[in-house]
Structure formats: C-alpha cells, structure tokens
C-alpha cells in the first residue's frame, strides 16, 4: 500500500491520510425494498435501491456522493447508520471506543454507542425537527438518550453546541418555528454534533436553502470539520456544491456506484460516460457560450426493473454490444480512481474545462 506511486498527488488535498485505514469502509452494500402486491402482500419483485456498492471514507476527508434523484444516495446514508437494515453487505467503522466494528452486525446497546460517533443531518430542516420540542429538547435529546449528560450539564452542553453552530444560547427555550431555514439547518447540525461524533452523513443539507444561506452553512460545515476533526459523507445533487466541499466524489446511477475519484480528477477527467454527461449538464454561472452539451436521451432506469448488462447502456453515447449483456466490474483503473465501465480504458471523455 505505502509504496504505491500516486500519480495524482498534486490534485489531492489530503495525501497523508490516503494510506491509513479508512474511517469507514463499505463492502458490497445492498438494500432491496420488496414490492408487494395483492391482499396477501405477495412479493413480486424488489426495488434495488442500493445494489452492491463499495467505497471508503478516510478520516478527516469529505466524500461527496452525487447522482440523480432515486439513485440510492439517501438509502446508502441511512444504511450506514443502520437507520434501516441493509439487505446485505458490510459497513466497517473505526469507532474510537469500540475499535473496528461492522455496523450491520451491531445490536441495541452497541448500535446506540456507535451512533455517538456516526450521525446524520437531513435536507429538510422543517420536517426533521419536532415542532413541539424546544431547542434544548431537540439538541439535548441524543445526549439524554445516550446517557451522556442531563440537568445543568445538559443545558451547558446545549448552550455550547448552539454557540458552535452560530446560534445564540439564549434561544434554547424557543421552538423551531421561530427560526428561518438556515437557522433550522444549524439546529439540526447542533443536534447531530452534540455527542461529538467522528463521522457525519450530510444528506442534501443545503439543497433547500437560498444561495446566500447555503454559503453560510457550507462555510460552517468546513469550519466545524477543521475544528472537530470531522469526516463527512456529503450527499447532494448540486455538482458545484459537491465539487466545492469534497476531497473525493462518488457517482451513483440506479443503485450502483459508477465512478469515484479525487474531486479535480473526476471533474477534469471523468472516465464513465454518465459522469461525463452529468458534468456537461451543470448550469454554470457564466454566460460565455460554450461547446454543445452532451444531452442524454431516454429516462433513468427503473430500479425495480433495470436493464440488462450495464444499467446505463440504453442512454450511453458509447454503447457497444458487450454493454448490453454483461455487467461491468467496478475497478480501480488508476490509483484511487474507480470506474464501472467496459470501455473505461479506451474512451477519452470530456471533463470540465476552466472557462477562465
């Protein structure tokens, strides 16, 4: 591992952590939702929401997870915390107290304990906060439930957390409705960070926010990451946001991971045709005319009834016969650049070029 020549080291922000044991390692994760029909609720098939996905997240880094709606991003995030039980696969987490654990195998008390260190924030700051709970209750709840603090100590910790995310501790007795979208996202963040976790799944945390508020929250996430040594899995569909915040980016398509690489490398030299199309589609805030877009035809495949071979083949501009029959393997094509495409080695795809 250690003597591998890293040809892309200059494009990577955190080279030193690359050869450590990852904080989180996902192996062949599957989450299938059964489709039931009729009075007897007979199982007639499965929605393969997450289908054989493997990736890792190094300590202190941000891994961006992108892909179109329904591709399985949220399901992946929820499986990692075992908020929903995965169908199969391994989720190895380096817990500071318990050591390396497979989250899928944890039960009750152990799961509660690991959730001190793995936490989640959500897209919708409105729906994810209980309107009948004060900020003290909301932010304090995980501390209470995990037996970390109570009484005066709890209040002090909550006050500190609120301050940390840029809210005034005096607001502790107020209810979520009194706060704006950006402030509610801060409340959600305070709640997630209250037990001082190592790892945070951020599921579209800025997607519902206006750009000026989005900028404040993105900056806050970066500051907290540096101060608290946090590791993020950052789920989003906005490619510019993901590029901005991530050290590496993973791309999903219909429940499968299709490409993962360091951010700049992925954007500048994508190796999967779907990534290429995704890049090309990004609306860029620059009115200078640019080369013709790569437009995808057809619709995203249905995860309950995916196509044969490569799931992307019906929409792919580079499709060959093999793509229709054989599923490509997800493999490391150059160091730390993973692609799931039969033609990855031969294709030369267009990435983002700087407009400046």
């Amino acid at each position: 591992m250690t003597d591998r020549i890293d040809t892309y080291s200059e494009t990577q922000v955190k080279t030193e952590s690359q050869d450590q044991q990852p904080l989180l390692e996902i192996g062949s994760l599957k989450k299938w939702f059964p489709i039931q029909r009729g009075l007897l609720r007979r199982e007639v098939g499965n929605v393969k929401a997450v289908d054989d996905v493997s990736f890792y997240v190094n300590e202190g880094e941000t891994l961006g997870l992108v892909g179109e709606s329904g591709c399985g991003k949220t399901t992946t995030g929820r499986c990692i915390l075992k908020a929903i039980p995965p169908t199969s696969g391994d989720i190895w987490f380096e817990d500071p107290e318990m050591g390396r654990v497979n989250v899928t195998e944890l039960q009750h008390q152990e799961l509660v304990q690991v959730r001190r260190n793995m936490r989640m924030i959500f897209q919708d700051p409105y729906a994810s906060l209980n309107p009948r709970m004060s900020l003290l209750d909301i932010v304090g709840a995980p501390l209470k439930a995990m037996g970390i603090a109570r009484g005066k100590d709890l209040e002090e910790r909550v006050a500190h957390m609120l301050e940390l995310v840029g809210l005034r501790p005096e607001y502790m007795r107020r209810y979520p409705h009194a706060f704006s979208g950006g402030q509610r996202q801060r409340i959600g963040l305070a709640r997630a960070l209250a037990p001082h976790p190592k790892f945070l799944v951020c599921d579209e945390p800025v997607s519902a926010l206006d750009v000026s508020v989005q900028a404040q929250i993105l900056n806050l996430l970066q500051e907290l990451q540096e101060e608290m040594g946090l590791t993020y899995l950052f789920v989003a569909h906005d490619m510019s946001v993901v590029a901005h915040i991530s050290d590496r980016v993973a791309v999903m398509y219909v429940g499968k991971m299709v490409e993962t690489a360091a951010t700049q490398e992925l954007f500048q030299a994508p190796r999967h045709p779907y990534t290429e199309a995704l890049m090309s589609a990004i609306p860029r805030p620059d009115p200078t005319p640019r080369e013709k877009r790569i437009l995808l035809t057809g619709e995203v495949a249905n995860p309950a009834n995916p196509p044969t071979g490569c799931y992307f083949h019906p929409r792919c501009n580079y499709v060959k016969d093999i793509c229709k029959h054989e599923e490509p393997v997800y493999e490391e094509i150059t160091p730390k650049h993973y692609v799931k495409c039969h033609r990855a080695a031969e294709l030369s795809l267009t990435g983002m070029t700087s407009l400046a």
Binding site: E10, V13, E68, S69, S180, G182, D210, V211, S212, V213, Q214, A215, Q216, L218, N219, Q222, H237, M239, S240, V241, A243, H244, I245, T263, Q264, F267, Q268, A277, L278, S280, A281, I282, P283, R284, P285, D286, P287, R293, L295, L296, E299, V300, M352, S354, L355, A356
Partner: protein, 358 residues
C-alpha cells in the same frame, strides 16, 4: 430578432393584507419584456418573483391585490414591425375574470410552474387537458385539437406522443410531465411564456434537456420568455436580459453579460460571489476556499425598511443615506439600471445635520 417591447411593468405594487401585517410582495417593480427575447428574473426565495409573474397574468391569489402600477401588454407587436399604441392593453386594469383577460391568459401569455402537477389535473389524461386548452382559445374541432395536441407533444420531444396523449400525469416521469406542461402552455402559440422555476424540481440532466428544448421552441415560435429562477447558472444559460430582485424590488437590470461581468449593485455582486464556482474548484491547490457570504439574513416579509431594503446587509452601506433615502433608478450605462446610492452623481443626504459636533 426584434427589439420591440412586448410587455412593460411600471411601478407595480402587489400587497397581501394579512392579520399579522402587510406583505409588500411586489413593491415598486419596473420591468421590460422584449418580443422574442428572454428576460431572466433572479433573486432569493420570497423576493417577489412569482407574485410579479402572477400579477402579469392577473392571477394573484387572495388576499393579494395589485395596489398600484401599470402592466401594459402590446398585443400585436409580433404582427406589426413597430409597436402599435392602439393595441396596448393595460392588464393591471382588467378584472381577473374578464373576457379580455381570459382571452390573453393561456393564449397570448401562458405560464409554466415549478411543479408540473400543479398545472395538470391528476384525474384527467394529459391529452384531454391539452385539447381543452386548445379548444378554449381556438375555434377548432375535437379531432383537429387532438391532432394538434399530439403534434405539440412531439415538438416537446416526448417519445410516442400518440400513446402519451392518453396517459395520466402520474404515469409520466417528472421531466416528461414538465414537457407535457410546456406542450400545453405552447399549444396556443403564445407571445409570452412565463416560466416560473420550470426546472428547479428536476435533475440536472433532465434540466439540461428542458432548457435546450425551451431555447429551440423560442426560436421556432419567436416568443418572449420571462424565466424565473433562483439559479444563477440557469440564468446564464437562458437569459438575454436579467432583472435581480430583492425584497419586492428590482435592484438591477441589464443584459446577461453585464450582470455576470459588470454587476453594479452590491447585492448582485454578493450573490455572485456566494455561489460555489467550478472554476475555483478546478484551479484549487491545497487549502479549500471559503465562500463569501452576505451578512445577516433576509428580514421577515412584514418588515418595511427605510431607505434601501438591502442596507442592513450591504458591505458598501453609506450611513445616513442608505438607511434613510430610497434609492432612485439610475441608468449607469445605456440599458443598465441599478437602484443604489453608490451610483448617484451626488449622494443624497437625508437631512443636513445642523449640529456639526454630532
């Protein structure tokens, strides 16, 4: 492409009188929409984009009301080379349900919303709704309308239009539904299409296809588009002219190049700097950059601020002026207007302070 004015909004004020107070949703908006061109309207949520558009359609939901201002629509500007004054219709004076307004709405001016389901009834087929839109405004038979509806579905590049016409909206994907809605909106060949966040709910690759489609249809139909979005990337792609709104006011309006390369208003400048730029990411070495932010937040909608509405958050704030004097519209360059005291030839002072020791 003609430069004729198709619609003009002057000093429009649309308010909501609520128990909690008055929401000045649109508070003195001036806008010009040119025939065959795209006017992009951009601003953060709640700044009055949708209510401006709904005012133009006479579709302001109660208790909202147009309080003041003029909305002039030049009906036959496409037919005649120079705008014909006789054909100017003052929309702001029409009753929402008047015959004349109904003949304009959905026919000469039509609208596409963010949520395609809002425009379509879930219990009726796509086709029956498009056919109804056609027969409402045009004197054609059912068969003729059906043929046209199929043709429209094909034009918005829906596959198998003769099958989709008998589908229910829920049977289509989000992107397909938005195409069907666009087909319905264009079925009467409007002069002006108002598109209110038409791609906000869609994925990027679907969005790219819809934007591409809209550009092509604009060429084909020579129609004007009022394109409302909060996404500056989409604005850059679509707009010829851009109006930036903040708290019910247009703070800056100019051509798209000037907005991105020569923005004058501190709010426009701040907005542009607060979005993550892919170019910055591509040239990033080592340390990750922070985004620039706008301090504070948008005040609640009942707030009426003296002077410029942006002054509490403005990095260029001039004390005693910005918090007291409402900035006038200033034309900094031909066709580039801005509402900001920084560009006044002499900075107005609220009152000369008599006591010089203060």
């Amino acid at each position: 492409m003609s430069e004729n004015v198709l619609a003009e909004i002057k000093n429009l004020r649309t308010y909501f009188h609520l128990a909690e107070g008055v929401v000045r949703a649109v508070d003195g908006v001036d806008l010009v929409i040119k025939s065959g061109r795209t006017l992009g309207v951009v601003g953060e949520s709640g700044c009055g984009k949708s209510i401006t558009a709904l005012s133009l359609m006479q579709l302001v939901p109660p208790p909202g009301r147009i309080e003041e201002g003029e909305i002039t629509y030049y009906r036959n500007v496409r037919a005649t080379p120079s705008s014909n004054v006789a054909d100017a219709i003052n929309i702001s004076k029409l009753k929402p349900n008047s015959r004349q307004m109904r003949s304009i709405r959905g026919n000469q001016i039509s609208m596409v919303f963010q949520e395609p389901m809002a425009a379509m009834l879930p219990v009726r087929t796509v086709g029956s709704q498009i056919i109804e839109a056609i027969t409402l405004h045009q004197n054609v038979s059912q068969e003729e309308a059906r043929t046209r509806a199929i043709d429209m579905l094909a034009r918005v590049r829906l596959p198998n239009p003769d099958r989709i016409i008998d589908n229910y909206p829920f049977q289509l994907s989000g992107g397909m539904r938005q195409r069907a809605v666009i087909a319905m909106a264009l079925s009467c060949n409007p002069n002006l299409l108002i598109a209110d966040e038409p791609t906000t709910a869609l994925d990027v690759t679907t969005e790219a296809r819809i934007l591409d489609l809209m550009r092509d249809l604009q060429q084909e139909y020579d129609m004007a588009i009022m394109f409302i979005t909060h996404n500056l990337g989409v604005i850059a792609e679509m707009a010829d002219e851009v109006a930036v709104m903040y708290m019910g006011k247009v703070v800056e309006q100019t051509d798209v190049q000037s907005i991105f390369f020569d923005a004058k208003h501190p709010y426009t400048q701040a907005l542009l700097k607060s979005i993550p730029q892919l170019d910055d990411v591509m040239s990033r070495t080592g340390e990750r950059k922070r985004l620039q932010t706008i301090k504070g937040m948008v005040p609640d909608p009942y707030t009426v601020l003296p002077g410029c509405p942006f002054h509490p958050r403005c990095p260029e704030y001039i004390p005693d002026t910005c918090n007291r004097v409402v900035p006038e519209v200033i034309e900094v360059e031909p066709g580039h207007i801005v509402r900001c005291h920084l560009y006044a030839s002499d900075i107005p002072v609220a009152q000369a302070s008599e006591d010089m020791t203060l």
